[in-house]
């Protein structure tokens, strides 16, 4: 197996210096997600702002423990979603999910995924896909919780 296709330099850069790491105030929802097979964990907070019809992801902060793939994925995700409307952030999640589940056959769109395109190689390593998705799942969960609260 070609290690370099998995461990792209962009991924290793994010792993060594993760963006937006640490837990911050304010936030409307905090979630804790675990990958039960390997024990990777993330505590993630989202702070949304704006009117209920057009919520903006103002901040995503997190404390994560895990491998290079899961740490780098969290870092890249925050770059992609912070400052974006929720629907655009969710669209990025959809694109990332499609890339991960594409068995290496999906051509990623750099406009949508930016540094996330470096994860294209991960899709060829089935055991690592869940590492790349952990932070995204936590973000989706936390954001959906806030949106539900706003509606209520």
């Amino acid at each position: 197996m070609d290690l370099d296709s998995l461990y792209q330099e962009i991924i290793l850069d994010h792993y060594r210096s993760p963006h937006h790491a640490g837990l911050r105030e304010p936030y409307e929802a905090e979630v804790h997600h675990v990958n039960p097979t390997c024990g990777d964990e993330i505590t993630l907070r989202v702070h949304l702002d704006g009117d209920p019809d057009n919520l903006i992801v103002t901040d995503v902060s997190y404390d994560a423990e895990g491998c290079s793939i899961s740490q780098a994925a969290a870092s890249v995700m925050t770059d992609l979603v912070i400052g974006q409307p929720v629907d655009k952030a969710f669209a990025a999640h959809e694109a990332f999910l499609e890339l991960m589940q594409g068995r290496g056959q999906v051509e990623p769109d750099e406009e949508v995924l930016e540094d996330g395109i470096a994860f294209a190689g991960v899709a060829k390593f089935p055991a690592r896909i869940k590492c790349a998705l952990l932070s995204w799942m936590a973000f989706k969960d936390a954001t959906a919780q806030v949106a539900t609260k706003e509606e209520a």
Binding site: D2, L3, Y7, L12, G66, I69
Partner: protein
Amino acid sequence: MSELTGLLPGLEVIRKDFPILERRLSGDLPLVYLDSANTSQKPQVVIDTMVDHLERHNANVARAMHQLGAESSAAFEEARDKVARFLNAPSRDEVIFAKNASEALNLVANTMAWAGPLEVKAGDRVVITEMEHHSNIVPWQLLTERKGAELRWFGLTDDGHLDLSNIDELITENTKVVALTWVSNMLGTVNPIAEIARRAHEVGAVVVVDASQAAPQLPVDVQAVDADFLAFTGHKVTGPTGIGVLWGRTELLDQLPPFLGGGEMITTVTMEKSTYAGIPHKFEAGTPPIVEAVGLGAAVDYLTEIGLENIHRHEQAVTGYLLDGLATIGGVSVLGPTDPAQRGGAVSFEIAGIHPHDVAQTLDAGGIAVRAGHHCAKPAHKRFGVQSSTRASSYLYTTPAEIDALIEGINYTKKYFKVT
């Protein structure tokens, strides 16, 4: 490195017994299999015995009134005899076939919930240890939660041994069960079963031993260690998956109610009530894993032929060599005892700055199979302040050259991740 003392004589011949060791992996790399604590590889004799059974003797056991049925029943019951000899069990009827060690342990924990002489009641105590595999923690949590009983555990010392300093406080008159592993799957520690069993028996507690990691590499004599119940799994002793063993003392097995209800475990059934078969059949409801049991019989015979004492010596030699090799690499810290005389053949370690997943992935790219994660021992990892670890585990077919390949692979991994 043939000068390493304690290696099995004829190691190259033994390796030829295991066809999978000839495998070439992606990139035409030879397989370096260091994940035997997870599951062991299978010798040709186990594979052939199972194929022969399926090709020539397949039939259901105990209920088929024909020649094949008789042959299949004989092979299945002969496997029970082989396992009984392997454990030095006083009676073959004390060997219960289950699907794995987890089911065997659950059988005990589950049936102790029901009314009877061995029932664990509110206020009773069950004692386990912090180094257990989840399969020897969760069943006891379920039991004590259901019954309002108390779950306590032995802690661990910094060097990975059981902390027995508070044994008198833990094992008291209220203690009904002491359940512990013989050999830790994460730390490698070999526990003093006989000593703890003696203390447990002084208060009348039942001793349940998880021998999943012991049975592959130590001579297991249930009478010598004075256990009451002992569980192990087939696939770690060069046998197939889908078969595990619970051994228990006759008088205790007789006192436990049935576990699963169904065919073969009854004497007679009416619509109102059933009466139950004696042991071992009382605990073997339904069609058992027949060919798996036959394969397990071949596996324990294979190990006995080589000799568990010899295998143990081999494991200690290889483990000592591995520990020496790891000690030469900066940033590597071993979890558990560092004296090979006090441990089994599974060595978990950390490399500063590299996550175990990334270590395992990089080693795998070089054809080296290890395990990364919490190894189903999350509390033991937490005790040592780590979330997960990399584990290399050897077996009777492991060579010093494979350990050399691992050490080289770890050095490469450090370079790859630019860790000094």
